[in-house]
Subunit: 252 residues, 2 copies
Amino acid sequence: VDRKNIKMVLEYDGTQYHGWQLQKNALTLQAIVEEKIQVLTREHVTVIASGRTDAGVHALHQVCHFLTHSDMDPESIRRGLNSLLPEDIFVRQAEQAPLNFHARYSVKSKTYEYRILNREQPDLFLRHYAWHVPRKLDLAHMERCVFLLRGRHDFSSFKSSGSENLNPVREMIRSELHQAPDESLIRFLFEADGFLRHMVRNIVGTVIEVGSGRTTPDEFLKIIEAKDRKRAGLKAPPQGLFLTMVRYDHQA
Amino acid sequence: VDRKNIKMVLEYDGTQYHGWQLQKNALTLQAIVEEKIQVLTREHVTVIASGRTDAGVHALHQVCHFLTHSDMDPESIRRGLNSLLPEDIFVRQAEQAPLNFHARYSVKSKTYEYRILNREQPDLFLRHYAWHVPRKLDLAHMERCVFLLRGRHDFSSFKSSGSENLNPVREMIRSELHQAPDESLIRFLFEADGFLRHMVRNIVGTVIEVGSGRTTPDEFLKIIEAKDRKRAGLKAPPQGLFLTMVRYDHQA
């Protein structure tokens, strides 16, 4: 059988996993997906995702690909994997892609959502799915920060160690703040042509410092312009972060 | 110190527990709450809840009480317990109640909500918090059933074994069906002066059979009138069930 490139869309709850990427002695999403593909196709494959997600980070729409000689059709692979995978990982779609499709290198844009529970009392049903910020927040100041992030910037102030050698310039296509009708749930939405390591969590942590009154939107602009990680605020915790979309040029 | 009666309002995620009631060799909510009260007050107490919840069933508002000689004030007990309890149990309120207040015997009404995810695709983030029913449902037929349950009835058709000796007549004060704006989430709401064992789950399972077209609202009325458990449908699974309110005569 000729080699085929299978593209899959995955949904997962990251609570129980040490992130996407293979690690020794730790349960990761890549390890379990590769293991179940091996059970199904009897081939050892490497599954490439659009990007790593960290421990505790979730995905509503993560894209990955792998090369296989199996003669199973993509829908049979999808159903077979869903019967083998644990209940916190779900294959939404599987299809054959051109051999030159690459889940990471072909990315046109990625979208992340970050959820904050903003009320005094915690909600234990959201403990793994939102960051609980009990302080009163100034939404207008936060919206100003979110607006300032739009467009092409050097995002060095919001990178974490591990991304030193990457080009820190990214195009922020969408940067929005939404408040649920009951006002207690706040959602950040960021779409960019790429993200530096921990960039969303570093941005959110810093915007929350503005919302809390510890600093100002004017200072936030200076932090962006400083291109210096030491100027930004704390990193927001992982459980509020969801990868919600990955786009490709041809939507292949 | 004189003996005091402490009334508490608890919220819990039942996913990891074998229900409320003490069991040998199984982790239950009662066991862990009693253990943490003992750590805090150095007294062994028995905690009485408004009723048992089964394994996998959740509570947004469960009420319990216990008698103590501790001189800790209720707010200190509340904070102390919240620092000791695991993150899936939360004490919302604690207050001193009259000595004759009893969390079970003093109940005036209890309210349950049952959540159904009604769409073809499952949602893994709701896997522990809703029953996934992928079939198209006839909401008008289901609303008719929910209407028929209102008022005073002998609910024998919806009881499970273990409640044979109880009076099966209950007053259903509220019986409602709500659909979320995106139409995929359906919520049943039942308030009654008391519930038989598994009554809500047996009712929901039977109403879903009507919604699926396997039986009719007229047949549902006959099932109520038959007072015979063998006539009703399957029991709905536990993860969709939430205890949402317990009312007392004096709101003590």
